[in-house]
């Protein structure tokens, strides 16, 4: 009896705590933070860099309007959003090379034939990206960007009288799901566009065996790269390393590059990439004294920092998720380890990193192959942000989304040029000839057809929570280094 009474009491106290949590949930976190005198968090969805130098909000051209099509279903085989042409919303309209079909001369529509994925009214393209899985929404930006471009295209154009329809497929961060998604895409879609998956090896053979043209945001595995019908707006050849970054730091921090560390997360593609980086940097004139993987379950980074101190490291490069970069920077700060430079790829060019790293992030360098997201002097960037806001108001642009947008534009321009000759085979053939693709200035020239790594990029630096480009000119280009 007394036991049951105490159980009731415990339930009541827990219910009270739950109620406290529920009441709290009505409060805006920023209000709470301000009331507590703390910082406001500020992640807020603002992209790194926030507003333009002139104070205007990047990509704010369009009224919010209604979102075309359905929201991202994320289910394998869910019907896609079409970006209804009639309700294009208030997204910006581009002209000239920024028009939906660019300056491509449209091919004659004579002889245009309906085929898999093409009806009298629509051309269905599939986007198979990681939406659910261990990190929910990890590559949702690729799907959003593809939908954004389709909405833009459908608002003004068509290909031989057909609008675009997107079939949204979820690859669930699983090679098996990638295989299922591409098997479905083979049956339903004319091509796959803007896909992004961590385990993209699964569907490579499915795509190749049915001749499905696959224009991805980025490829992550060698199997996908080796697939003869698969391409990516960001072409990557494992083993080839962009030489312009090491050259930049060799010039700027000559002494530091002679005592460099290559640190990486001990998982996935990072391991192979880091080994290639080390070899390439050494061949570029650096001296990598410390090459170290850190396990995913590691939480105490101090011993690694101690090792770097002991070895006299002066320049640190890291390959891994930004959350772990934050841990590494914390440990470096605690141990009083201040290398001349800390460099990472554009993974850290992210508002969340800026928030979480706080002061420790000051001075870090990011290596990027894209223009800055708030650089609306690039008209295509303004278009991307505007239409992204149309399909998902408040969505934050990112690296994979940008390349997915670029992939969608590439598809549209190639398909438009082919006109009546459009088939899966003819599209693959056309894609094989694509060189120096920049997505209208969004990113460095990419060798889509030959699938070689780009040799250009820019260097950004974080200062007081704001990223700015510190490398000269538009993009620097250098040699392509062999990392094998």
């Amino acid at each position: 009896m007394s036991t049951s009474r105490s159980a009731v009491l415990t339930v009541a106290v827990l219910a009270l705590c739950a109620a406290l949590a529920a009441c709290g949930s009505q409060l805006d976190p920023e209000t709470v933070a301000q009331a507590s005198g703390g910082s406001g968090g500020g992640a807020g969805g603002a992209v790194a860099g926030g507003t333009n130098p002139d104070g205007s909000v990047a990509g704010g051209g369009g009224a919010t309007g209604s979102t075309d099509g359905s929201t991202t279903g994320g289910s394998t085989g869910s019907s896609g959003s079409t970006g209804d042409p009639a309700s294009g919303g208030g997204g910006q309209q581009g002209t000239g090379e920024n028009a939906a079909t660019g300056t491509t001369k449209a091919g004659s529509c004579a002889g245009f034939k309906n085929q898999t994925g093409i009806t009298d009214k629509t051309i269905t393209i599939a986007n198979a990206s990681d939406i659910s899985g261990p990190v929910p929404g990890i590559f949702e930006s690729a799907q959003e960007a593809t939908r954004a471009y389709v909405a833009y295209f459908n608002s003004t154009s068509d290909i031989c009288g057909r609008k675009l329809d997107v079939e949204l497929l979820d690859t669930r961060a699983d090679a098996g799901a990638d295989q299922q998604a591409y098997t479905k895409a083979c049956d339903d879609a004319f091509a796959a566009v803007g896909s992004m998956s961590a385990f993209d090896s699964g569907g490579a053979s499915a795509a190749q065996s049915c001749g499905l043209p696959d224009i991805r945001s980025t490829t992550t595995t060698t199997e996908r790269r080796d697939c003869s019908t698969c391409f990516a707006a960001q072409a990557v050849n494992p083993g080839e390393v962009n030489g312009s970054m090491p050259r930049y730091f060799l010039q700027k921090y000559k002494d530091a590059t002679q005592h460099a560390a290559v640190i990486y997360i001990n998982a996935g593609a990072a391991v192979g990439n880091a080994a290639a980086f080390r070899n390439a940097y050494n061949s570029a004139g650096w001296k990598v004294d410390y090459f170290q993987g850190i396990d995913v379950s590691e939480f105490n980074y101090a011993p690694y920092v101690q090792q770097m101190k002991d070895k006299g490291i002066k320049l640190v490069t890291y390959t891994g998720p930004y959350q772990d970069t934050v841990k590494l920077l914390d440990a470096m700060k605690q141990q009083g380890f201040e290398p001349d430079a800390f460099v990472q790829d554009s993974t850290i060019y992210d508002a969340n990193f800026v928030d979480q790293a706080g002061d420790n992030g000051n001075g870090v360098y990011a290596w990027s192959s894209t223009k800055m997201f708030d650089d609306t002097s690039v008209k295509e960037m303004a278009l991307y942000r505007s239409w992204l806001n149309q399909v998902k108001p408040g969505a934050v642009p990112n690296y994979y989304g940008l390349y997915a947008w670029s992939a969608a534009r590439l598809f549209v321009e190639q398909a438009t040029a082919l006109g009546g000759k459009l088939t899966r085979a003819s599209l693959v053939s056309a894609l094989k000839g694509v060189k120096n693709w920049t997505g209208n200035g969004l990113h460095v020239p990419q060798q889509v057809g030959s699938k070689t790594t780009s040799n250009c990029g820019s260097v950004l630096q974080l200062d007081d929570g704001k990223w700015s480009q510190v490398s000269p000119g538009n993009f620097m280009c250098g040699p392509l280094l062999n990392g094998n």
Partner: protein, 654 residues
Amino acid sequence: MSSLLSFTILGLFTGAAYAIAASGLVLTYTTTRVFNIAHGAFGMVMAFTFWDFSQRQGMPTWLALFLVLGVVAPGTGYLVQRFVTRGLGEGPVSVSLVVTVGLFVGLIGLAQYIWPPEPRTVPPFLPDKGLEIGDTYVTAHQIITIALSMVVAGLLYLLLNRTRIGTAMRASVDNPVLLRLFGGNPDRVASLSWAIGISLAALAGILLTPVIGLSYYDLTLLVINAYAAAMLGRLKSLPLTFVGAMGLGILQSFAVAYLPSQGSLAGLRAVVPALFLFVVIIAMPQAQLRIGQVKGIVSAPLPSFSKSIGWGAALLVLVALLASGMSDANLLLVGTAATYAMVMLSLVLLTGYGGHVSLAQFTFAGVGALAYAKLDEPNLYGLLLSALIAAGVGALVALPVLRLTGLYLALSTLAFGVLMDKMVFQADYAFGFNGTLHAERLSILGHSITSNGSYVVVMAAFFVLMALALLLLRRGVLGRLLIAMRDSPAACGTLGLDMRWFRVALFGLSAGMAGLAGGLFAGLRGTIGAADFQLFNSLPLLLLAVVCGVTSVTGAAMGGIGLMLLPVLQSSHPEFAGLIFAILGFGAVALGRDPNGLANLLFGLGRRLDRRFGDRVRSVVPVLPLPQPRTEDDVLAEPDVPLKEVPAHVSSRG
């Protein structure tokens, strides 16, 4: 020398984190004999609660700490003991492991549902304070963690050894009845143990989240490392656990300092805790048999052989019909379900019949898949050889721990899974880092099975054949031995049965079945990699096996379909992704005590329907043979005289 000191100091912090986590684990085990796999998951949920109170709602830190450590955590521990784990320590180890694995998965799902993914931070205590020791800077937060780990160890030692309630806690696990006779209340002391245990999990979570970040998985992974420390103290000795935790922390720190960062030894660093666990388990003394109890369960009905063949044929016809009408994408899902079902069949043998738990059954499937791809013999010979290799590996895992009982065997499979994930599968001679291997589809007697539909039918045929073989085994002498050993090892020992080698063979056979499934799966997929067989996939596998029924073939089939559908449902209803996990986890908690699971309910439903409508149906069907015996219990000797039909109203009364 100064470098050695630096790495020792830095390792102490890691050790302190393990010590706090492990001490809660030891407390609950030593007082209730329940090894709480979900200890880290409780810490994670409490850390999220602390974040919610202190950051989102803006409560003062002291108040949030008080509420979490003093109210929510102990209250949760109390409720968990009262409604979930009560009496589990007296039951089979497999049940307590499955229930806590259920809590583990359920809590992760619950956290995802309540606190959807977004960046969250918990600031450290006294962020700008610290201490310079030689060349090393130690933050105030680290000092607090190390100090608290010592305080916790000391207080718990005093509680268990110097107080009346502590003595009662220890007595409750040795003999609760005797404790009650002496005026103690075993339930109350068990509740107290769980309340303190979950509070310690919360403390570990709150102290560690500023360092490891607030995520669903990181803390749970960390606590798995702490198992090794707890095992050094044989899950009983707090001082040895503390020594183990500190030793492990320093060992990991030294591994960073002194192991080469390149070459074959580089991978050792990541598996230091798993190796530590494996070595400690192997060094454990002979387990003592517990007498005076039969941990048996009422098994699911065993169908007659003719009925088994009938159902198997029906399943094959159904799959063949599906194969003829389904799209290739959906057929891949059916093939995946068949793979899972076959792996679950291996669990029916090991867990359902044998009473042993494997926390890494997918790893054995991975071994089979790896062997199949490497052998490059896409035929029955290659498939059989792959299964044999997996069986050999399974036997090897059981061999070093053949002196030990269920829990240690289960934990050794966990350590084995970690070692395979991080050292073997990712090695260049296996799948390679982020790499995959190509695997051809199986050919039978020279006929290559290329279409998805045909291949899926073949997979279903393998499932049916494995199931029939398993039922035959269960019906025979071996099956009866298995059940006897599961129900009362002490009785078997008394009768002179040597269970050790039998257990190794059982483990090997089960791993072989999983390996066969892995080989077939490799053929289905065409390309396979290490990511397809990650250790953590084995936990939902075990849960669904138990929820659907780990003692029956039907349960395995249902579980295979359920496990295939799980990610599909999460994908189609992303808003309920966490909730689905929570339902699965807590479903296992609810059903874990009855390993016959949903399948048994289905059988019961069938019997009820038969009682309700059977006669009516039979009366309209002109000629029907007499009903066959339905269950093993129903099996009767063939009567010498013809059976007499009994009127329906009479039989229903019986």
